[in-house]
Amino acid sequence: MVGAYFLGSAAVFVLGEEALLFAAGDDEPRRVGVHGGAILTAACDGERVVTGGDDGKIVSTNGDVTTVEIAADPKHRWIDHVAIAPDGTVAWSAGKDAFVQPRKSEPRKLEAPSTVGGLAFAPKGLRLAIAHYHGVTLWFPNAEAAPERLEWKGSHVDVTFSPDGRYLVTAMQEPTLHGWRLVDGKHMRMSGYSAKVRSMAWTADHKALATSGAPQLIVWPFQGKDGPMGKQPRMLAPAEHQVSMVACHPQKEVTAVGYEDGLALLVRMSDGAEVLARRPGGSPVSALAWDSAGTTLAFGTEDGEAGVINLS
């Protein structure tokens, strides 16, 4: 399972190969073929799910289960990452090349200094962060200005903007996060993890970043003018196995936490109280998603088990 999302009331599971699975109500889940091979990456803006595959295609699927091929790499390269901007612009990467496809014009390309490790759009304005070896490139695809480079030694494999757009955080090949305060480029080192951080999510109040990478939920504070600089993260919901996936509730201070042994918990951020969402068993939790009302949780595991839990 590559990811889980909600389009309206339907839970959409992105399978490891070829298809999406739409599950709505009590109906039999509907399988929708989107790629000719492995699905490597997915993103969702609440209106559509965009996927990239090893067939070199970027495909968009709407809530009404119609699919559109956004682009195909002429050399059939793997599409490693996709991202969707607030205005619906789609970005993807194949090897070192990052592409942006605005809704009504030709795609634009930027070559990164090395293979792209992750993509993220800023919350406002059309600005794309491209993570790569030794740093991040910030690109305004509609502007002529040269892209800006944020440097930090090492391989950056994922990237996210804080919801207020003030901070940029990357996950690295080493078990650590790196962050920049964008106004002055000040570095933030967020270390102490025991595993590579594969999952990051911002809390509903935008004040904290919840991550995997340890056998407990790690929560970095981002309120105040210095963000997490000089502060310790909170550590909640300790368990026997590593956390593999996190998803923050859309309104409440609750985070869904998936573990490598298949366990999933709902964790209240204020006091760390836990509610069991799924018993351990099977492969690591690899997908978690809340619907927009925050009453339904979809989960998926690495080996393809999936489910929807109604919490209302």
């Binding site: 091979g37 492995a38 090893d54 793997w78 490693d80 293979t115 070896y133």
Partner: protein
């Protein structure tokens, strides 16, 4: 130190060899012979593989340094990405083959499996297979450090194009290889014709198999005639009952053995310190250890500064409880290593 779930790990064979040695020939053979196995193949962007298959992926080799305080720790960033992607199609193939460029150092590939936890959980390094050109290897060992690294790292070596050299030359090449790496399995081939079982699914990196192969060269006996051969100013050789015996001037294998039980509290700090100090020069290390009052064999192996080890099965009654250690590397401080090892006795 290692996790036990190895059953469904995908084996990965790393194929190295200097430019023109015959890697592509071997790869084409693996992909076209009827063996009932399906391979996902990661080839370098500039390869010339003539077979179209959706499980063949072209990559640019990207060597990433790790910020883990280990000066020689590099990994193949592209491999991490590609193997993660291939794992989405688990079940569609039985094994992965990684072809490196002719100038590649095998260390970053091997270290990738030690360093990346996700890759280590899903895939395991099966063997490093090196194709060597019978006609040119001697020259390359002299002028190309990459070629020497590829020999030093290998678990299996194909001396290819043997039809282009005479018997005497072939024996000499073999002796030169043995001087660098006495532990690899050697095969003489033409057009890389070798039973594929000799190349694939070797389990050479499996801790259970470590040091199973007795170093032929070290066991060759000591009744040597000293015919020193100074035709080549970089090497000297002497005959061992027909097998020429060379010492490579900068790359050696160092084998240590003791039947005195070791003290783990002395051994681990010693070996960790040794690879921290000398890891840059130690390409590979392997060992089977007998600790005092420990019924189980302990096996470890390493690549440069990375070490991985675990307890294996019990020592058998019929088995001699001895500890054996092997280092392959450049300018190894032999007397220091021997002395340090001796001091690890319980």
């Amino acid at each position: 130190m290692t996790d036990k779930i190895t059953a469904d790990k995908i084996p990965v064979t790393v194929l190295t060899g200097y430019l023109g040695a015959g890697k592509t020939t071997l790869l084409n053979r693996i992909l076209s012979e009827p063996h009932g196995q399906k391979y996902a193949v990661i080839v370098n962007e500039f390869g010339e593989i003539g077979i179209d298959n959706d499980l063949i992926v072209g990559v640019d080799e990207e060597i990433f340094e790790m910020n883990n305080g280990c000066i020689c720790c590099t990994v193949r960033g592209d491999l991490i990405r590609i193997i993660q992607g291939l794992m989405r199609r688990k079940g569609k193939f039985d094994a992965i083959i990684v072809e490196t460029t002719g100038l590649a150092d095998p260390a970053p590939v091997a270290q990738t499996f030690f360093v990346d936890q996700e890759i280590g959980r899903k895939a395991k390094l099966d063997a490093v297979v090196t194709v060597a050109d019978a006609r040119w290897l001697k020259d390359r060992l002299r002028d190309a450090p990459e070629a020497k690294n590829q020999i030093a790292f290998a678990d299996v070596i194909l001396i290819n194009k043997t039809d282009l050299v005479g018997d005497a030359d072939l024996r000499e090449i073999e002796a030169r290889i043995r001087a660098i790496n006495p532990y690899a399995r050697l095969h003489h081939t033409q057009r890389c014709a070798v039973p594929l079982a000799e190349v694939l699914h070797r389990n050479a990196f499996d801790l259970d198999r470590i040091l199973d192969v007795e170093p032929q060269f070290l066991e060759a006996g000591d009744d040597h005639d000293h015919h020193h051969d100074h035709a080549d100013d970089h090497h000297h050789g002497h005959d061992h009952g027909g097998l020429k015996h060379y010492h490579d001037e900068d790359m050696q294998a160092l084998a240590l053995k003791t039947d005195r039980a070791l003290d783990p509290d002395k051994f681990f700090p010693w070996i960790q310190n040794l690879v921290a100090q000398e890891g840059k020069n130690i390409l590979r290390s392997k060992g089977i250890l007998a600790f005092k009052d420990d019924p189980k064999r302990f096996a470890f192996q390493g690549v440069h500064m990375m070490l991985d080890g675990d307890h294996q099965r019990d020592w058998r009654d019929s088995e001699k409880r001895e500890s054996r250690l092997v280092f392959i590397g450049r300018e190894l401080p032999e007397s220091m290593i021997r002395k340090g090892f001796e001091e690890c006795a319980a």
